[in-house]
Each structure stands twice: as structure tokens, then as C-alpha cells.
């Protein structure tokens, strides 16, 4: 059965077009509803953090935005244009592969397990996308990759393969690799969850400097409440596939309104 998409705009217009908009997005795995009619806007340059218990759909939000997961209902827009759908004869239809490739070029993502290419050095990892996808000249791509590795403090390890790098170092290279594609939106999916405690700081510091110095739109899923509180413009607490509560970090962490938010935050605090 085809979903009726006639109520969704073909593109977003007006003064305050958000960089990312989820419009009534539903994701199901069989009978399990992972996300239920999600509405979420992220403004340009905004850093939004998603927190919540496991199974609440946090990671799915990022994966749908990266087009790693399809959606069952609703439409996602990026920079005013539909991402999950495309226009055909004045109507929205599910995006085909060609459209998806174009649409997702504005989005970059870092993963919990880094997913660096093991057969390439740190530098080659950062050059691969620009050369193969953006068609950049090798010399130019190398120069940019070197700048980005410098930015994440990995210049001295640029000729190492990932197997010779620690988790924190691999994650920093992965951030540089994603940035090399010049995305407008960066997604961080539990990027510190697989790291040893003593190297978490080197990764969060890189993200912090991105927030401070670059006008990137960012969406981050994390279990590190202190970090989320520090750097987010807004925090969304997900529960059961819905945004239970959202707001400025000082409000959400300092004075949560909903009972589930309070329970979650006190449970996390105890665990710390």
C-alpha cells in the first residue's frame, strides 16, 4: 500500500527553513515501532544531542538521516529538500538510488566502531572520499586531508594503518575522514561508547572544537551526559520511539519536567 504523501510539502520554503526536518517519521521493524511519528527540526549550525535508554530509537534517527535505514512513513528534509523522497510529476515518491546519492552528499557520519578502512593509512582514509566521490585532484585531497588530520591532532600518525592506532586515535581519524567530504550536517553515533575511559577526552575535545569553531549542524547520540550538557544547544530525551522531553541542556538536566526524564537522569547519575 502506498503511503499518501499529499500532505507533505515538496520542499520547505520561508524564512526559517531548518537544516534538518523530520516530519511525522515512523520506522518499524515488523510489528515493532522504533520511531513513532517523529517530528524534529535542527537549525543550521545547531548542535542537538539525543539521549535516552537503549531501544528508544536514538541511533535509528541518525541512521535514517544517513540513509542507512529506510523509513516507513513521513518525510525527512535536509536543507529544505526532501531526502527520503523525490518529486515526480508534482508528487513525492520514495527516492531512488540516484537521488539518494545526491541528497545524502550533505551528510557525514561517525560511528561507534569507527569503521575506518583497514587497508588504507589514516591519510588515505581521509583522501578516499574526496578523490573517488568528489573527483578532487590527489594533491589537493592530500593537502586537505593533512589539514584535517592536523585539526584532530593526528598528523604524526597519518601514514599508519588503523590497526596500529588506538580507539581514540581511530575515532579522530574517522572524524577527519567525514569532514573531508565537507558535509553540512555531521552525525555522531555514540562515538565514545567503544573507547577506553582515558581516551574519551581526546575525541570529545575534537568535537568540542568543531562546535566552537565551525558552523556545522550536528546531531549526536551519546551516553555521556556531562559532555552533552556542556556542548549542546538542545538536548532531546527519547523514550519509546518518541521525544519525551527536549530543551536547553541546563533546563533538561537541571530541571526535567517529565517523570521518565527524571527517572532516566537519576538512573544514569547513579551509574556514574
Amino acid at each position: 500500500m502506498m503511503e499518501d504523501l499529499s500532505n507533505y510539502p515538496l520542499e520547505l520554503t520561508g524564512d526559517n527553513v531548518p537544516m534538518v526536518r523530520f516530519l511525522k517519521v515512523t520506522k518499524r521493524y515488523g510489528d515493532l515501532v522504533v520511531l513513532d511519528q517523529l517530528d524534529l527540526d535542527v537549525a543550521e549550525g545547531e548542535m542537538v544531542t539525543i539521549i535516552g535508554p537503549s531501544g528508544s530509537g536514538k541511533t535509528t534517527v541518525l541512521r535514517m538521516l544517513m540513509t542507512l535505514e529506510t523509513i516507513n512513513e513521513g518525510v525527512i528534509y535536509v536543507d529544505g529538500k526532501p531526502l527520503t523522497h523525490m518529486e515526480k510529476n508534482g508528487k513525492l515518491v520514495p527516492a531512488d538510488r540516484k537521488y539518494l546519492r545526491k541528497a545524502r552528499s550533505q551528510i557525514g557520519m561517525c560511528f561507534q566502531h569507527f569503521n575506518l578502512f583497514p587497508h588504507m593509512t589514516a591519510l588515505e582514509n581521509c583522501m578516499e572520499g574526496p578523490v573517488q566521490v568528489l573527483g578532487m585532484k590527489k594533491a589537493e585531497a592530500r593537502e586537505r586531508a593533512e589539514e584535517l588530520l592536523e585539526l584532530v591532532g593526528m598528523s604524526d600518525k597519518r601514514d599508519q594503518h588503523p590497526s596500529r592506532l588506538s580507539g581514540g586515535q581511530q575515532q579522530r581519524v574517522a572524524i577527519a575522514r567525514a569532514l573531508a567530504m565537507r558535509p553540512k550536517v555531521m552525525l555522531f553515533d555514540e562515538v565514545t561508547s567503544a573507547l577506553d575511559p582515558e581516551v574519551i577526552g581526546e575525541v570529545t575535545n575534537v568535537i568540542r572544537s568543531l562546535v566552537e569553531k565551525h558552523n556545522l549542524t550536528m546531531l549526536m547520540v551519546t551516553h555521556q551526559m556531562g559532555f552533552a550538557k556542556d556542548i549542546s544547544d538542545r538536548v532531546c530525551f527519547f523514550f519509546d520511539g518518541k521525544i519525551e522531553e527536549q530543551g536547553a541542556p541546563e533546563d533538561l538536566f537541571g530541571n526535567p519536567q517529565k517523570e521518565r526524564t527524571q527517572q532516566f537522569l537519576s538512573a544514569v547519575k547513579e551509574a556514574d
Binding site: 544517513m66 542507512l68 560511528f111 569503521n115 578502512f117 573517488q132 566521490v133
Partner: protein
Amino acid sequence: MGFNWNWEFTWEILPKLMHATLNTLMAAGFGYAIAVVLGMVFALAQRTPYWALTKVVREFIEFIRSTPLILQIFFVYYVGPQFGLKLGPWTAGMIAIGLHYSAYLSEVYRGGLDAVPKGQWEACTALNMSTRDTYWRIVIPQAIPPALAGMGNYLVGIFKDTPMLSVIGVAELMHTANAIGSSSYRYLEPYTLVGIIFLAISLPTAALIRVFEDRVRRKLGLK
């Protein structure tokens, strides 16, 4: 009848056998080259979204693996002409043995391809890479090293199977040894020499493959 080794005869037939060894190596080399490429084609074809193609390739591989090589050689050489496919013994032999081993190699590749972690595919999507670049630059280079051991085994395997080509008259080692035997009525020397030659090539090859495998892993940073 006692053991009766004739050295003079040995030296006399050795050049002939050495020449046939070249043919054997050539047959194994060509056959393997076909199998290496076609095997990858078969492995990739089974990963396309076109279920009909996947099914046909799957069944074809099963068919080849479940029937004897010698039957396939006969089939291509003797039945081929009925379908307008008239081939010389060399061409028919290379096609048969190449096809046969491509079925086995495709299974080796399949294992290697399946072993590439899902995260690698996701990273390629996140970098907006095309499917072609994803396979060619990321997935296949990671799928080959774990497949090298299996690929090496089949290289030695195809070499040892080349005597089967003698049945359609490819002048490789076995064919030449048979010819020497039937004209001189001496079989001890030619067959013994053939065995020694096979051994002298198989053993170092297997060792070289292990060294090569190790080198590739190191070079790709996988070790």
C-alpha cells in the same frame, strides 16, 4: 620382474617431458586466470538484487561442483560442436578447467566477501561512495586476503588436474608420458618422472603462496 631403471632412457625422454611441463604450466596458468576472474564474476553476480540472475548462477555453480571435471572436459570438446561450438583441444580444455575452478573459487570469494564487516559498507554509504567504488576499492581488497589460502589451494589443485586434459589430446605431461610409454613399452621412467616433476612444482608453490599471503596481509595493514 625386478626393478629395472634405465638411466639412459631417462635422459633421453627428459627433454620431451620438460617441454610438456611447459605446456602443463601454461594450461594451469591460463585455466587459473580464467577461474580467478570468472569466479569473482560469479561471486558478485550472486550479490546483485536480481534474484533470477542470482538463482541461475547459484544453480550453475552447484551443477559444476556436483559433476566430474573429466565429464565437463568431454562435454565441451565432444558435445560443443553439436551446438556449433567447434573448439581445439587447448581452447576446450581451458574453458572446461577454467569454468570448473571458477565455481570453486567463487565460493572462496563468497566467504571473503561475506566476512567484510557491515560497518565498512555503512562507512562507504556515509562517504557517499558508488556501489562500484565500494566493491572495487573497499570490499574486494578486504575480501581477498582471507581468500588467499583457499585461492592458493585451488592453484595447486588446477595444476594437479591438468593431466585430465590428456583425454582430449592436450600435449601436457601426462599425455606425453603416455605417448612415450606406448611407443617404447617402458612406463616406469616416464610416470616416475611425471610424479617427481609434479611434486617439485607443487611443494614450493604451496610454500610460496603462504609467504605471499603473509606479505599481502602486511601490506594491507591487516596484520
